[in-house]
Assembly symmetry: C2
Homo-oligomer: 423 residues x 2
């Protein structure tokens, strides 16, 4: 099935907002085995919209139109859809009542111009929007089925997942269940993981498992798209492949599906009623800023210290026996982590200390990371060197710190060679 996406709106066309709706939709469709073959962006302009609708209707089987369903005069999607399909706009009484109720429950009277949002092309199928006033709809224009969706991201997301994708799959005639399994890893590059996983798709002979990746430094997402007759069939096919992925990527898998690295660390600590003291230097609060805002973190993250000055560092954790002239080392990192743990009364401490290269930012600027984890009975540490400029070092060091701590909490080796470090 040939699918196109048509994004509308002056804000997107002029670059006032980055069009993340497009990548979101395209990716979601890929995840269920559907492919987008053409994308178009036009502004809130009658002539452009009509031309774009007609061009898409000649090329595609299905077109998802995003935006232009609002109550203002520059929201033109219903009107141009009706024009392109050669049908009049008619009032959708039920949606009008829903909108009036929507406003009434907020103790407001519906402004007259919202009525426009209930005017749909006569031949349209209504598509519900449970969280906004812009309902969706679908209709045929030329040889293509058009699906109209709201521009507000959370409304779009819900409508796409709950209503548009099932309709597209039904039209595609795939009477199959589709499931997306995701693994998140840190420390191995995409091509490395690709070679490690060579052949896993073939564990299911009929080609119903497809491997894909999405890299967002420092993490990599490994995706398995699985098709089957129903969800039981999908699970049966997925089982040997996911077992093999877990085996081959092993300790590098930091989470699966909706899990995040910081969420896994928080869960591990919460499960053992643990608490954490953090010490950061050049990462400057980046690790704290990932853990701290999570619900429940207020009970776990006891204290974080950020400083790039050694005298301040030792003073903040009450470590008076180390002179501030002493170079960083694994011993210093361990002493800092231990002192921070004792000072804050936390069960665990993580110290991520960085010696950043001197000079202007450049692609080969590096940082040496001295990382230590302390508990009452034990201290472990690790040295690493990350190359790639200030921002690369900062992001990489924060990830390395959190991931080593995840490994420690899960009883895995803290020191294991990663692709992003120089030895």
């Amino acid at each position: 099935m040939r699918i196109e996406i048509l994004c509308t709106g002056d804000e997107v066309l002029t670059g006032k907002i980055v069009n993340s709706n497009f990548s979101y939709m395209s990716q979601k469709l890929e995840d269920v085995g559907l492919s987008v073959v053409w994308g178009t962006t036009v502004g809130d302009d009658r002539e452009s919209l009509l031309t774009a609708f007609r061009l898409a209707s000649e090329r595609a089987d299905a077109v998802i139109v995003n935006g232009g369903l609002g109550p203002t005069v520059d929201d033109l999607s219903q009107e141009i859809a009706a024009q392109a399909a050669g049908v009049p706009l008619v009032l959708h009484e039920e949606w009008l009542a829903r909108m009036e109720d929507f406003f009434a429950r907020r103790s407001r009277v519906m402004p007259p111009n919202n009525r426009k949002q209930a005017m749909l092309p006569e031949t349209a199928e209504f598509i519900d929007n449970p969280i906004g006033t812009a309902c969706g709809f679908s209709l045929d224009i030329g040889k293509a089925r058009f699906f109209f969706t709201p521009g507000v991201p959370r409304e779009l997301r819900r409508m796409l997942e709950e209503q548009i994708i099932p309709r597209l799959l039904a039209r595609a005639g795939t009477q199959t269940a589709i499931h997306l399994k995701r693994f998140h890893s840190y420390g191995l590059g995409e091509s490395h993981v690709d070679s490690l996983l060579a052949g896993v798709e073939d564990l299911v002979a009929d080609g119903s498992v497809k491997l894909g990746f999405r890299a967002h430094y420092p993490q990599l997402e490994t995706k398995l798209t699985v098709r089957g007759a129903d969800m039981d069939d999908v699970q049966r096919k997925l089982a040997p492949v996911q077992a093999e992925v877990r085996k081959r990527l092993g300790n590098f898998i930091l989470g699966e599906d909706e899990q995040t690295l910081e969420g896994v660390v928080l869960s591990e600590l919460t499960a053992r009623e643990g608490s954490l003291a953090l010490v950061e230097t050049f990462t400057s609060g980046l690790i704290a800023a990932r853990l701290g805002p999570l619900p429940g973190a207020e009970k776990v993250l006891r204290r974080a210290i950020v400083t790039r000055d050694r005298h301040q560092l030792y003073d903040a954790v009450g470590l008076y026996q180390i002179p501030s002239t002493q170079e960083l080392s694994l011993e210093v990192a361990e002493a800092v982590a231990n002192a921070a743990r004792i000072k804050s009364g936390a069960t665990h401490a993580l110290a991520v200390l960085i010696d950043l290269d001197e000079g202007a930012d450049r692609i080969d600027l590096a940082g040496t990371v001295w990382l230590a984890i302390a508990t009452e009975g034990e201290t472990v540490s690790r040295r690493s060197r990350i190359v790639g400029g200030r921002e690369w070092v900062r992001l990489g060091a924060a990830e390395l710190g959190l991931d080593c701590f995840r490994r420690y909490l899960q009883g895995l080796p803290v020191v294991e060679r990663i692709d992003f470090e120089k030895v």
Copy 2:
């Protein structure tokens, strides 16, 4: 002049990467008074590329094509451009030599497939890429002038600004100079600023100053696009308008052009050889993470403390006279800021303490912010309440903290009503 943008590549089409190149290009063109009227996205597919080139060549005066100039087999832009223009590909000797030199200087031999990057359509004008191996080029296809640019963002940016935009302006026949003036503010919403600035464009009678906005919570960017015969003329026209904008937005302007809020704060402190101690709670290191990584911050940001536990908070700053059961207040925030300043030996301290509402995240979840700034001779404080969910509160409180500190350092009132708070 009718301009279209054509983005190519499977990674963009499938949503693997968000297409920020499109919004970047569109915005840069808007900034110099040119408008993009149509955007197309296609994958690395011969037929789609050829169709897209032909459609654009029938509609547009100028087309910017992004991507597809790399050395691999799926990079097809040169080849399809030649096909669409009906001319052969020929070797650009000079670029081949430049590439060979590029590799030689890195002690590497150029792989044979990079030669492809020097094959340009016979009628093409070469466009230099001083920082990569993908040169640009332009040529006529149908009635339109096509400009081919690399997909790597930093290479695209440099080529667009230095080479493509001057060519587009020359073709547009606007023998005028164009300048973009930007003001960054915090605390006033877009519609509020729009009404405050009503009529400023009319201070220059000939319509050569255009007002625009770009909102990215919590900041707002106010843009003045000015056209003139030359840069002197532009500056003459801009002068009364920018003076009026500065007057009307006054204390709310946190920076202009390339300035950032954290950069302004760092400059102010550096200029007076000052230093800073930071105390954060629910913002969890977000303020530190904005200031800390800046070059020069290592001399200024002495210490940041992050904790959401009151006992930890008072202990970390050595404030033993306040019981941890005591509610937050302006007095507590001031005591914390003062103690942090003394403990770290910094000239200044900023404490941003937050009481977050209980319960699950929701759109009307709020946080009360208790903010204090301390120096040796003075302490000032401010209470604010921000509504809009956990993330909105967290981002808003970090911005409020930094901006109040900016106001303090610049001798402006720290307490001034903003649009994003409930009183």
